[in-house]
């Protein structure tokens, strides 16, 4: 039976129409919600602060993985956030999840950075030892966020681990080093077609393995 409603359309709903109960709450809370980004787009600094708190750890982890040096990562991340702040009003929710947008933004900037440094011939060797001890102290994140983050992390790790190492390697070279499949093929001395296949199969498996996560991110109802 349809949910009870005062609205005549529901009251006289055409028979046979499928009706749902109240939406089932998702297993993992969404990382960044569209409404938060909408507030940021309107220039709400408080919302932006919340956005920062929700996303900075992941983005910092990502940027640090790409650029290698904590000081560089921090500078770069500052720019990424300022760009996000400036561009939030252009962000189109239909295009995808806010978190995906931020990850894409941070990744592009970090890869650009590394390329620019490489072009100038500077050393870009990663060094995690530079990380100051104070950085390792967890920031304010409530228990629910932590649990959700842990679940997400466990799932993504498991999905990556379930791939054959060569597929994982190809995907990581593309994602973190910004290499095209041609460049990967040259670097690994493996035929182009093989690299393409590795990436394709790996990505297919990841997509399937992470379905619950991306469905939630994309706002697809279960």
């Amino acid at each position: 039976m349809c949910p009870i409603s005062i609205h005549p359309i529901h009251l006289f709903a055409v028979s046979g129409r499928k009706c749902y109960d109240a939406p089932v709450s998702p297993k993992h809370p969404s990382t960044v919600d569209h409404t938060l980004l909408a507030r940021v787009a309107k220039g709400d600094q408080e919302a932006f602060e919340r956005l920062y708190e929700q996303t900075s750890s992941l983005l910092y982890t990502l940027v640090l993985r790409i650029v290698g040096k904590p000081a560089d990562a921090a500078d770069l991340l500052q720019e990424v956030y300022l760009e996000a702040w400036r561009k939030a009003s252009n962000y189109d929710t239909a295009r995808g999840a806010p978190m995906a947008w931020l990850v894409t933004l941070a990744r592009s900037r970090a890869i650009d950075w590394v390329r620019a440094l490489a072009a100038r011939g500077k050393d870009v060797t990663a060094s995690l030892d530079d990380t100051p001890a104070s950085d390792l102290v967890a920031q304010n994140a409530d228990a629910l966020d932590i649990r959700a983050a842990n679940e997400r992390q466990a799932l993504v790790r498991a999905s990556l681990k379930s791939l054959p190492p060569v597929q994982q390697q190809a995907i990581e070279l593309a994602f973190y080093e910004g290499l095209t499949h041609t460049e990967i093929s040259e670097r690994l001395h493996v035929p182009l077609g093989t690299i393409k296949t590795r990436i394709r199969l790996g990505m297919e498996k990841l997509r399937d393995g992470l379905q619950t996560l991306w469905e939630e991110e994309l706002g697809i109802p279960n």
């Binding site: 005062i6 750890s57 982890t61 640090l64 991340l77 995907i171 994602f175 994309l218």
Partner: protein
């Protein structure tokens, strides 16, 4: 590139691992509007952006937050007017920002746009190709004429003859001819350089055109998306309007029926209906006015094509009201029985019809009121039965 290949490339594109040529093909395809690919792409993109979760988590420096928030209030970032594209960058962000709002995720486009060489300075240019080559490049006709002349000159006897002639006729003319030739060569070099500069400019224009073409493709894709959204919204609206129309019809019908009931009640005609109303007047009023009441529309089966009925159910009190019209007259010893069907049919009561072929039933303690999937009316032996046995006359779902 055929569709299968494009689809195979989607995951690479989402990961940013496609070569620029293939990126262009892909973007053209997506801009042309391919819902299947767009959907798949979004899935791959979403999966790709999950990758950082697998990294050992690092915590961002606590001081960074205040730095960012302070920078936010700075002149470059704070006002909405300044937001658009003013980079306030103490950090060298190396390349033009890829368009992050397009569905192209990790694009390298801005970097891969060909760098056009700056026009070379004149001196360097004129040093390398010979003036003859340059002349050939600029003015083939003039070059041809000059070559022919030189060929003739170089042929010995002719040269002699020519030199003799020149000497004889005018040494001054020979000198003038030399100067003229040098002038022509110089002009040719100048022409060549101008031509080169123009060619470079054209190439730059072309690169710009390619970029704007790219932008157009982005816009087109955006437009296509908006159009799709609009179509969807329009469809939704159409459906709502249709539903509203149905609702209005039903409301009108109910109003009519209520009016009839009221009239019958007033005039005392249709005594049975009046009795029902009197007996359950309060109930009926409560049912019909309850905001939580639900209604089902029952339609006649082949047994009674003109028949229809309405059921109002009030789940809070588990009471309901049933009203049927145009049911066939009952054979002797038979009755109509109303069933509520959850997993199985359960009797909701029996009723007969009046001379106007109308039947009414006030229901109390309706079983499993929230799980009702269907209502049905069947013809049963007088007094009713625990399970339906006779033909079905009316059915309908809430």
């Amino acid at each position: 590139m055929d569709h299968e290949q494009l689809e195979e490339n989607l995951s690479l594109y989402a990961l940013g691992a496609l070569d620029p040529d293939s990126v262009r093909d892909m973007e053209q395809h997506l801009a042309a509007g391919c819902p299947a690919c767009s959907t798949l792409l979004r899935q791959y993109q979403a999966a790709a952006t999950m990758l950082p979760y697998a990294l050992p988590p690092q915590t961002s420096p606590p001081a960074l937050k205040s730095r960012v928030m302070t920078a936010l209030s700075g002149p470059a970032a704070s006002t909405t007017s300044a937001r658009a594209d003013r980079p306030a960058s103490p950090v060298p962000i190396p390349t033009a920002p890829p368009d992050l709002f397009s569905s192209r995720p990790f694009s390298r486009i801005p970097q891969d746009l060909p760098e056009m060489p700056a026009p070379q300075p004149l001196s360097r240019r004129s040093a390398s190709p010979t003036w003859r080559e340059q002349l050939r490049a600029t003015s083939p006709a003039l070059a041809y004429a000059l070559e022919a002349l030189l060929k003739r000159v170089s042929r010995r006897h002719e040269f002699h003859k020519w030199r003799e002639q020149l000497k004889v006729e005018s040494p001054a003319f020979a000198a003038a001819l030399g100067v003229l030739l040098l002038g022509v060569a110089g002009y040719a070099v100048h022409q060549y350089n101008t031509f080169e500069a123009e060619r470079t400019a054209t190439a730059r224009d072309r690169a710009e055109a390619a970029k704007s073409k790219q932008e157009t493709a982005d816009l087109k894709r955006e437009l296509a998306d908006k159009e799709a959204a609009l179509t969807k919204a329009t469809d939704e609206l159409k459906r709502t309007v249709e539903a509203l129309g149905t609702t209005r019809e039903q409301l009108a019908r109910h109003q009519e029926q209520l009016d009839t009931l009221r009239a019958q009640f007033k005039t005392g005609r249709g005594r049975k209906g009046a009795e029902v109303l009197l007996a359950g007047g309060e109930d009926l009023l409560r049912i019909l006015s309850s905001p939580t009441a639900k209604m089902a529309d029952l339609h006649g089966t082949d047994e009674a094509k003109d028949a229809y009925a309405l059921v109002f159910v009030e789940p809070e009190t588990r009471r309901g009201f049933f009203y049927a019209n145009n049911l066939p007259s009952l054979p002797a010893g038979k009755t109509y029985q109303l069933w509520v069907i959850t997993d199985k049919p359960v009797s909701a009561g029996v009723f007969s019809i009046d001379r106007g072929h109308k039947g009414r039933l006030l229901m109390r303690n309706i079983p499993a009121v929230r799980r009702i999937k269907k209502f049905a009316v069947s013809l049963e032996p007088e007094g009713g039965l625990p399970q339906p046995t006779g033909s079905i006359y009316l059915t309908g779902a809430p």
